[in-house]
Structure formats: structure tokens, C-alpha cells
Symmetry: C2
Subunit: 134 residues, 2 copies
DNA sequence: CGGCACCTTCCAGCCGACAGGAAGATCACA
DNA sequence: TGTGATCTTCCTGTCGGCTGGAAGGTGCCG
């Protein structure tokens, strides 16, 4: 299978496939006599795996480390599990920060809505966001 | 006030101050006879404003547009409010996506924990994350 | 007058995950 | 045989928000 077909099956672009190869995420494939990359069907699975892992927010570097374990035939999933748990912790933190920001914004918007429009005419201050709101 | 003092007061680096100037976030200041940037105290407020707005997740471009309104002495906060509301919507979406990813990861971790360790010995598959889990 | 901290400009690089495009080879089909 | 789609490599650019460093000028203290 050539790179275009692979890309189509996996739902990515040929650019992406070559990029993944360049960072070691997928192995260098065989080449046809004319130099074209020649892939086996299993690479489709690997690319879909990458896509799924990415969907959970893992970076390509993290996915790479998971795949490396898989490639070396590791007899334990402990590294993978540890990675997942660490990532979950990261996500929790991120969600909290966003929720906090969301609350901050909500407070600002509420203040803005309750403001007398004429109070916005001071060219030196915006009443909606001020440094004192920190 | 010279750039170093300003930076200290605002809690940023001199690099950042010059960068903000380069993207038009703060105006070009007066210069001393020797060419040093010479700031008024009000710039401290402006930088703190930027910091606060950034803390809510606004990009510098967005902050720039808010400040622009402020600079032109806009008599209405409606643009600012609209910006804030749009940003809140963005945040909501982002939070949902992260929560979804968090659930996905949780499911994966749960599966991993319940797996018979020996089932991980197949060198061709990682049971924890598979493309079929999409 | 020496030395050091601070200032100036400008250019380069970093992270992540690609996308765009040039220039040339090759393949498939009519 | 032509032509258009696909392939190759390689280099550059994108977004956002800075950071690092080189090379040189200035300010102040003792």
C-alpha cells in the first residue's frame, strides 16, 4: 500500500504520515523499486491508535513512549498505566484552571452588565477589567 | 521609570515589555537623552491589566483589542462584553472536551487495572489502548 | 578611571504538529 | 504517447508568547 492509500484509510494526510516517520512514531517502511513507500495493513491500525491516543490529549511524544513499550514487547503495562494516570492528573489540573478562569470571566461579564453605560466614558479606565480585579 | 523598574513592578521581564511594545500592546514610550525607554507609572497598571486578562485565558491579540477600545475612549463596553462572552463559550467547549478526554482516560486506566498481566505479553498489541476503543 | 549593572538593537530559537510548495520522478489510463 | 494524479526530497512557514544571546552604549559608585 502506498502512502496516499494509507493516509486515506487512517484519516490523515501524507504529510502527517511522513512527519510521523521523521519523528520515529512509525517505522521506515519498505520501498518499491521506484522508491515509493510501501506499507502493510498493520500500519493503518497504528495510525488509528495514534489518532485515538491523541484524542485523549496525549502528545505525540507520550504516544511515542507508549508505542515504544508496545514495540519492545514489554510484558507489563505499568508504564502505560502510569503515563495515563499522570495525564489524568494533568487534565484535572487543567480543567480546574479553566473553570476558575470561567468563573473570573463570568464575574467580569456580570459586572459589565450591571454598569452604568456612562461610567465607560472615562477614556483612562475600562470598568470591566481592571488590575484591581486580580 | 526605566524598563527594568517597570518590569519589576509589573512582574514581567524587560524582554516581555519590549515584546509587548513590538506587537503594539503598549505604546512606544518616551526616551531619555541617552535613548533609554522612560515610562510613566500608568504603564504599570496597563501591564497588570494584561497580566490579569491573560490569567482569564485571553490571548494577547484579544487583550489588544480590548485595550484598543479603551485607548480610543469607546463610550461603550459592548465590544468588551461580547468578547468576554465569546471567550466564555470557548472555555465551556474546552472544558467539555477535557472532561470527555478525562473520562476516556479513566475508562482506559480502569481497563488496564482489570487486565490479567499475562494478557500484555502479546508483542503486537497493547490491551490498554487500541484503535477499537475509539 | 575602573568595573559592573543596566540599557540598546536585532536576530535566532523554542514548543507542537503539522501545512505549503518547489522540483523532479513515476504510475495509470485512454 | 500524453497528461494528470501521485509519489519523492527538502526547506520554509504557521501559531503564541516569549527567551537567549551577541555586540555595543550608558549610569553610577568608589
Amino acid at each position: 500500500m502506498k502512502i496516499g492509500e494509507l493516509a486515506d484509510l487512517a484519516g490523515v494526510t501524507t504529510k502527517t504520515v511522513r512527519y510521523y516517520e521523521s519523528i520515529g512514531l512509525i517505522a521506515e517502511p519498505e520501498r518499491t523499486q521506484s522508491g515509493y513507500r510501501d506499507y502493510g495493513v498493520e500500519v493503518v491500525e497504528r495510525l488509528r491508535f495514534v489518532r485515538d491516543a491523541q484524542a485523549t490529549g496525549l502528545t505525540l511524544a507520550e504516544i511515542s513512549s507508549v508505542l515504544e513499550l508496545k514495540d519492545t514487547g514489554s510484558t507489563s503495562c505499568s508504564h502505560t498505566v502510569a503515563l495515563l494516570e499522570r495525564h489524568m492528573t494533568d487534565l484535572d489540573e487543567q480543567i480546574l484552571r479553566l473553570q476558575q478562569a470561567r468563573e473570573d470571566l463570568s464575574a467580569l461579564a456580570g459586572r459589565a452588565a450591571s454598569l452604568d453605560p456612562s461610567s465607560c466614558t472615562d477614556p483612562n479606565r475600562c470598568q470591566v477589567i481592571t488590575s484591581s480585579s486580580a
